[in-house]
Symmetry: C2
Subunit: 465 residues, 2 copies
């Protein structure tokens, strides 16, 4: 009896279905490697992760796979050129992850992945190992079923969570090898599993660290209190004075380059499905909090922010210590929107911070990494292909949205390689990326693997026209 498959069943879908268990196990394997780029004590693990990913690309069938060295962690490169005359898709992703702390808030260890209620729990499960690995498995599936419709080049970096400091140099040095037509990135979210969306805008980032020094040593708060500047009180006052009552940021010139929304933009954004009550319930907050005059969607997607990411000073141990500390510090980051510049913002911040410091303290301001905000076109072939691919797998046309996060390198790709990016992400805002108990839905993981080949197919078809 013949075993010819009914033409209704696609070999690709079939292959993905047959191998879904392995696809998951391979991801869990990678999630066990604590590739935290922000903390140098994980260096061996980050390098181990790069090696592991290299092997996976080879196994998937990529050619010329190698770890391209940079001043920091290497970029994992691999490619498959099936026909130089066909379009070439450059897949970008990152294999490094955020620090896992506060560790005590994880219900299962951050680097011992568990699958629970249809979700993979582990640091990096969504951001970005899970979303990045969807591309590796989609690639394998296309190859094994002779379904790869164009050329592909992978560049997976290991420093995205610390600002991709060395990627620009990598792009400059590898322009030839990186020749292509479009950048495909899955490092963003969809609105909901039944509400597909594609990010068309990303915020930039300007990350600063400040240190306020009062007296040259910790003092007895009784003997000196009231007469000597307390650096913690001063730091709090300085931070407080960076926003006004309407939560507008008070740094002079901060908003000068902000691209204001048109009536049309606001009307479009207002159409985004969003339930404020569910939002508050999910976060267990009684009220939202932000810049006056803007909706939550506008606040996260289209307006700049100033958030203290960390603060420390004085005695933080058990009990009570009556100390007037010598120093207080904070990590403060600003999300930027078109057309702000991280470099200019860092300068405005530094000048302002120094200008508001009383003479009774000394100030040190350090600039960490930054990234530029971007808007991606919605009329491009790539966007249309991504939209059509998602419409087919989700059964709904994806909504163009603006993400609040930052992928600084999107601007770099345009500047150095002259290539636009398409942000076809499959995560959810509720995946707790950068938080304890980060997770990624199995639905989302497999939906990505299923959708990506369709992007290749439609992108190639539409490019011909």
């Amino acid at each position: 009896m013949s075993t010819v498959k009914s033409p209704a069943v696609s070999p690709l879908k079939d292959y993905i279905k047959t191998n879904d268990k392995r696809f998951l196990d391979e991801l869990l394997e990678l999630l066990r490697i604590p590739s935290v780029s922000a903390d140098s004590k994980y260096k061996p693990d980050v390098l181990k992760m790069a090696e592991a990913l290299k092997s996976k690309l080879v196994a998937a069938g990529a050619d010329k796979v190698e770890l391209v060295p940079t001043a920091g962690y290497p970029v994992v490169y691999g490619e498959k050129i099936i026909d130089p005359k066909l379009p070439t898709v450059l897949v970008y992703g990152h294999y490094d992850v955020q620090p896992a702390d506060p560790l005590n808030l994880w219900t299962s260890p951050a680097f011992e992945p568990v699958v629970k209620d249809g979700k993979i729990y582990a640091r990096g499960s969504c951001d970005d190992k899970g979303q990045m690995y969807m591309h590796v498995k989609a690639f394998e599936s296309m190859l094994k079923t002779n379904d790869l419709s164009c050329n592909v080049k992978f560049m997976i970096e290991g420093e995205e969570e610390v600002g991709s400091a060395n990627l620009g140099q990598f792009l400059k040095e590898n322009k030839e090898r990186l020749k292509g037509d479009v950048i495909l990135i899955s490092d963003t979210s969809i609105l909901a599993n039944d509400v597909p969306s594609i990010d068309v805008g990303l915020r930039g980032l300007c990350y600063m660290e400040v240190e306020v020094t009062g007296p040259n040593r910790d003092l007895h708060s009784g003997v000196y209190g009231g007469a000597v500047a307390n650096p913690i009180n001063i730091l709090c006052e300085m931070i407080a004075s960076m926003k006004d009552k309407n939560n507008h940021i008070t740094i002079p010139g901060f908003y000068d380059d902000v691209l204001q929304l048109s009536k049309e933009d606001r009307a479009d954004l207002a159409k985004t499905p969003f339930n404020i009550e569910n939002y508050k319930k999910d976060l267990d907050i009684n009220d939202i909090h932000g810049e006056a005059g803007f909706s939550t969607i506008e606040r996260t997607g289209t307006r700049p922010t100033l958030d203290v990411n960390g603060i420390w000073g004085g005695y933080t141990g058990e009990g009570a210590k009556t100390v007037l500390p010598s120093k207080a510090s904070a990590k403060i980051s600003m999300r930027l929107v078109p057309n702000q510049s991280s470099e200019k913002t860092a300068e405005l911040f530094t000048n302002y911070f120094n200008s508001i410091a009383p003479n009774s303290v000394k100030i040190k301001v350090t600039t960490h990494h930054g990234g530029e905000p971007v808007l991606t076109p919605t009329d491009s072939v790539a966007f249309k292909a991504a939209s059509k691919a998602m419409e087919e797998t989700f059964g709904k046309k994806p909504i163009p949205t603006r993400g609040g996060g930052s992928i600084p390198i999107v601007a770099l790709f345009e500047k150095i390689l002259g290539l636009k990016s398409v942000l076809m992400g499959f995560g959810l805002d509720t995946d707790a990326i950068h938080s304890p108990n980060e997770h990624f839905g199995l639905f989302n993981y497999y939906k990505g693997i299923e959708t990506i080949p369709l992007f290749y197919k439609y992108y190639t078809e539409m490019s011909k026209k």
Copy 2:
């Protein structure tokens, strides 16, 4: 040949001189015990310290020496009743010390005392092991030279640095045993080694801890930043709003009970020798900082304060983490002056802190220990005796001053035992108590041992009149 000493040489002075090396070694021995009462992991050391002190009192010749149990650490008690008709001096001190951190700022380990440039460097060298042990050695010297002029009772507690929570109960339960005429305490400073002084006022203390909770988990500052309250920003704003531009504390009712200074008080205080340039140089600050309209001496001695003693929240590790944290916390203490009450102040603080919190965060306020401010009389026999004793050993009449620190139990002694205290301290404000590299001058240690017997002598004489 007879060895009769010339009457010019006092046997007491002679005894102190002959034994000075041993007096120092015994103190160093006690300084090696890390009796940190604030941190429960040092519990065995605090108890070891109590035992060690008990043995020293026995060796010095005290009777009925015992560790009197309390709900917390025991009080070391000992006495010598030479004649019930003579006055009785109750000596108070404490054998517990402040935590030693930040440890990295100590030039030699906090609990490995070293003598350098005529100073003893160790946690507790001045506050209060050094000043407390002067009394034990002065007592020994008086006994051994038949120079003890009145009865003495020692009560050395182990919880002063955490607010003497159990001392009140101890006093109530031991009223009979603690019958006496005056409390003698050395836990304060003199203005300078050539400018003796006696504290006649002490500030009280109200120590609070606050926790601000925003979202129920750490969030990605890009995805949520701008739309959700950041507890660190909010905490900073709340702390900043507790003082106005003139550094007046804005808590409603905070100043209601503050005893205002009379013209005369201010004139007297203005006479205190004080060099602002040396003060700034010692602390390496460009400017002092405090409540408008008051001098530095007034700010530390006669005005209440609000100082953040510690703050923490979010990511404080290496590098950059773009987190919008769930929680932020701070330890905030207020120094109180007559006639403020720590209990009422804690209530005012709590009500105000809750009232200024936006609806987008949740607040938790905890009250740590408190203590009441005191003023001690300058017309008492005890004060006059102390003044005469110091005038004799320093060659200068001591200046009555107001200390900024707190010894909460001074108010307790008055309330429960009905006894006034005399604050005859021998430390210096520059001894870095509560700070890294705490030290105590050998000059000050021996000057104390030499002065204390004279206090007994003059107190007994003047009491007869």
